[in-house]
């Protein structure tokens, strides 16, 4: 009986590092059989992050987190026999996933013309930085370059000050989520048409899609939004404020006049509510620097969670900004299973990311830890492709399964 949403689907995952593997992870969390193809000849660099993988390629927690629920095979597809195995896998897969550059994809012989000939029902998705065509399609990048090239980073910084830029793999993850949606839409369409198709994702276009407001402003008014800080058009106060001692920062956002009055009341500063400078949202936006100073003068006297409790009771949006360990010990995130303990043969126990969606009826869970190198060669090559033990031994001998 089918239990997981994507239980009847098989994905062959050639991708590396962040964006591709995370797309595969979403499908794997939904129950798809995702086969991660690797080779010892050239390891996924996420297995070898400096400072994290001191004991070899099986101990990187982040790799474990973004590749859980997947099977692992080691195939050197630059060998003739290895490439034949890949073709056989393509024949029995529903989705092929990669984040190679268009050139790299061609060089490996994985272009869509070839793959669709082997399997016309295949959905092939690639998510390189800039897509399969266009003047930038050959660029080599890391995550921060994506933010730079799509306009996103130009808005990250304190208002009116220099650009600081996005430092996290934010747009990689955003591309994975959008990419997973596109794959599922293509699979849904296949139910009707019986045909697979090619999905071309340029990560910088996904990046542009989540800053739609800035482009609308530009096309409407020829106005270029710069560094935004913690500002937003329609709310003030709207900032992260310092708390007492070292207890961190609290985010406070106020939209309605009722929230503003409640805030002033709850913090013991009813005079702010009647102050000319802050009498409505337009005034508060205009005098935001002064307002922020006043709010901070109050928050500095209190602990972060204490402020949250007090203001939430008054119907005001106040939540602490949480660091790594603070998230781990937060009771709400704990109740939502935002972090999971998973046993792994190489490390004993990992703490990995939970699943970012919940279903009322179908389970979504971590069924297996991230694969060790070549861990599932026997199942995939033997059981799925029907090779005998002797054939497999031969392939290992010849360093095809490597």
């Amino acid at each position: 009986m089918v239990r997981y949403p994507l239980e009847s689907f098989r994905v062959i995952d050639f991708s590396w590092v962040w964006a591709g593997p995370l797309l595969g992870e979403i499908l794997a969390d939904m129950g798809a059989e995702v086969i991660k193809v690797e080779t010892n000849k050239r390891l996924d660099s996420a297995r070898l992050t400096p400072g994290r993988s001191t004991e070899g390629p099986e101990t990187d927690f982040i790799f474990h987190s973004i590749n859980r629920n997947k099977l692992g095979v080691t195939i050197d597809m630059t060998t003739e026999k290895g490439f034949e195995l890949i073709k056989e896998l393509i024949r029995i897969s529903d989705v092929a996933l990669d984040n190679f550059s268009p050139k790299g994809l061609k060089r490996l012989g994985l272009d869509y013309e070839m793959l669709s000939e082997i399997n016309p029902k295949l959905v092939q998705v690639s998510l390189p930085a800039a897509g399969q065509y266009g003047p930038l399609s050959d660029i080599v990048t890391y995550a921060p370059s994506l933010g730079a090239l799509c306009g996103y980073s130009s808005m990250v910084g304190y208002p009116g000050e220099r650009v600081l830029g996005e430092q996290t793999p934010y747009l990689d993850v955003t591309s994975s989520i959008h990419g997973a949606f596109a794959v599922l839409a293509a699979l849904y369409s296949r139910e009707q048409t019986g045909k697979g198709q090619r999905i071309d994702i340029a990560q910088i276009e996904v990046g542009a899609s989540v800053i739609g407001e800035a482009f609308m402003e530009y096309f409407m008014n020829n106005k270029v939004l710069g560094t935004q800080g913690n500002r937003i058009r329609n709310m003030a106060p709207h900032n992260n404020y310092p708390c007492q001692g070292d207890s961190g920062w609290i985010s406070i956002a106020i939209k309605t006049e009722e929230e503003w009055r409640n805030f002033c009341e709850a913090t013991g500063n009813p005079q702010w509510a009647t102050d000319e400078r802050f009498k409505d949202v337009a005034s508060r936006l205009k005098n935001q620097d002064e307002l922020d100073k006043l709010v901070a003068s109050w928050t500095k006297e209190h602990m972060d969670y204490e402020i949250m409790e007090l203001l939430q009771k008054a119907g005001v949006a106040a939540i602490p900004c949480l660091d790594l360990t603070e998230r781990f010990s937060n009771p709400h995130l704990e109740s939502r299973e935002a972090h999971l303990h998973v046993e792994h043969p190489a490390t004993g126990m990992d703490i990995i990311a939970g699943i970012g969606f919940k279903y009322s009826d179908t389970p979504c869970e971590v069924r297996r830890p991230a694969p060790m190198l070549g861990q599932d060669n026997e199942y995939v090559i033997g059981e799925l492709l029907g090779k005998s033990k002797e054939e497999i031994a031969q392939l290992v001998e010849e360093k095809v399964l490597y």
């Binding site: 927690f61 266009g134 600081l164 979504c364």
Partner: protein, 403 residues
């Protein structure tokens, strides 16, 4: 017209502002029929948000609303009236998917909770996007995009060490929860294909940040005492991983591999200082000598414009990129060749360019078929043609404040 991937799928949006509207935009742009329910007279909050042409407020001219509601049908409905509730239920009976982003308590008060709606339509997939999810101690807390990004871990990585952390610009939390909701809803559709039953999809905006974005590093915090460090224009890991000024703007410099850094120095004419012993180990550089290195690198960068530098980097396979501003991206030949920005004509606003397809599907492409609806634009089409009301019913319901 080419058939689209989600053609034939019927979606009701009972949402507001950004997260639910972005979720259903992704569906509508792929061909689903999305009926957007708005409060009569006031409509969706995004209508009041802007940007507006010349900054003049008008509820049919908000850029954010126009962007987030392409390809949808818009109806007005006051669900706080008994007749409005009945109409809502009629819409649900014929839908595949309901997407909403109301507080859980509001949904329960209206009697639109999943167990109730499931009685009307057992095949219904109901997707709820909230700040904290349908369960847990913070379930009924109030939060905006700023707050969920803070709690979920996106904020503590951005900004300068001594100053306040910076939240991601333009309410990214809502885009993240909206996109995740669209993806998870598709998963529920596949479940329904195998067992015929709908279900409730619970998306917590905070969870999306705390898991797929920032859950992977928690292990390092627990077992190795690592902290999220705000380092302004830098990530402290290896040098260079930073954003530095050049002649006409900023460059994003990142070299994970040593050869990338070497090639850059080579392209800059192998400056004498690279032999200095402070700059031999790039991890030591990142942790101990980043300020000195920045000053020397900036001196080189200031000789070039960012496009000149990008040219040099591309020729030498160096992984650096210019920090383009919004105007530069809007006019970038790459985006142009791929047809990313699309022009849309709409009542009240005229011809205007919008951001377009985040992904290109070869056979069932992203398409723009209609602009965002004006308030109540499709009342007649939906109420009369789909639900069988008469035109005179519409007039009566309008008078009674139902639509």
């Amino acid at each position: 017209m080419i058939k689209q991937a989600l053609s034939g799928l019927k979606v009701i949006e009972f949402g507001n502002f950004m997260s639910a509207p972005y979720c259903t935009k992704l569906m509508a742009d792929m061909g689903a029929e999305v009926i957007k329910i708005e409060q009569p007279v006031t409509g969706d909050e995004a209508r009041e948000y802007g940007p507006f042409p010349n900054g003049e407020r008008h509820h049919e001219k908000s850029g954010l609303f126009l962007y987030l509601n392409t390809n949808k049908k818009g109806i007005t409905l006051n669900v706080d009236t008994p007749e409005g509730q009945k109409i809502f239920n009629d819409l649900i009976k014929n839908a595949d998917i309901l997407v909403e982003n109301n507080p859980p308590k509001r949904i329960a008060d209206l009697g639109f909770d999943y167990p109730t709606l499931k009685q009307l339509n057992p095949r219904l997939i109901m997707t709820s996007i909230t700040s904290f999810g349908q369960t847990g101690p913070y379930r009924d807390f109030k939060a905006y995009a700023l707050n969920t990004a803070g709690m979920g871990g996106q904020t503590t990585r951005t900004g300068e060490f001594e100053r306040e952390p910076i939240t991601p610009p333009l309410s990214q939390s809502h885009y993240q929860s909206g996109a995740m909701a669209a993806t998870a809803t598709m998963g529920a559709l596949f479940s329904r294909m195998s067992n015929g039953a709908g279900q409730h999809v619970d998306i917590s905006e905070t969870d999306v940040w705390a898991t797929i974005h920032h859950g992977h590093g928690v292990h390092l915090g627990i077992f190795e005492g690592r902290k999220s460090i705000r380092a302004g224009h830098r990530t402290i890991s290896v040098y260079p991983w930073c954003i530095l000024p050049c002649k006409d703007g900023y460059m994003c410099l990142i070299a994970i591999q040593g050869y990338q850094w070497k090639r850059f120095l080579e392209a800059m004419g192998n400056p004498e200082w690279m032999k200095d012993e402070r700059f031999q180990n790039r991890i030591v550089m990142a942790f101990q000598h980043a300020d000195e290195a920045d000053a020397l690198v900036i001196a080189l960068l200031l000789n070039y414009s960012k496009e000149e530098l990008f040219d040099i980097c591309r020729r030498n396979q160096i992984t650096f990129a210019p920090v383009r501003d919004i105007a530069e991206v809007a006019n970038d030949p790459h985006f142009k060749e791929r047809g990313y920005f699309v022009e849309i004509d709409r009542e009240h606003i005229g011809l205007l360019k919008y951001p377009g397809a985040p992904y290109q599907l070869s056979d069932t492409p992203w398409q723009l078929k209609s602009p965002a609806p004006t308030l109540g634009e499709h009342n007649e089409e939906v109420y009369c043609n789909q639900l069988g009301y008469k035109k005179r019913d519409l007039a009566r319901m309008q008078k009674a404040g139902v639509i």
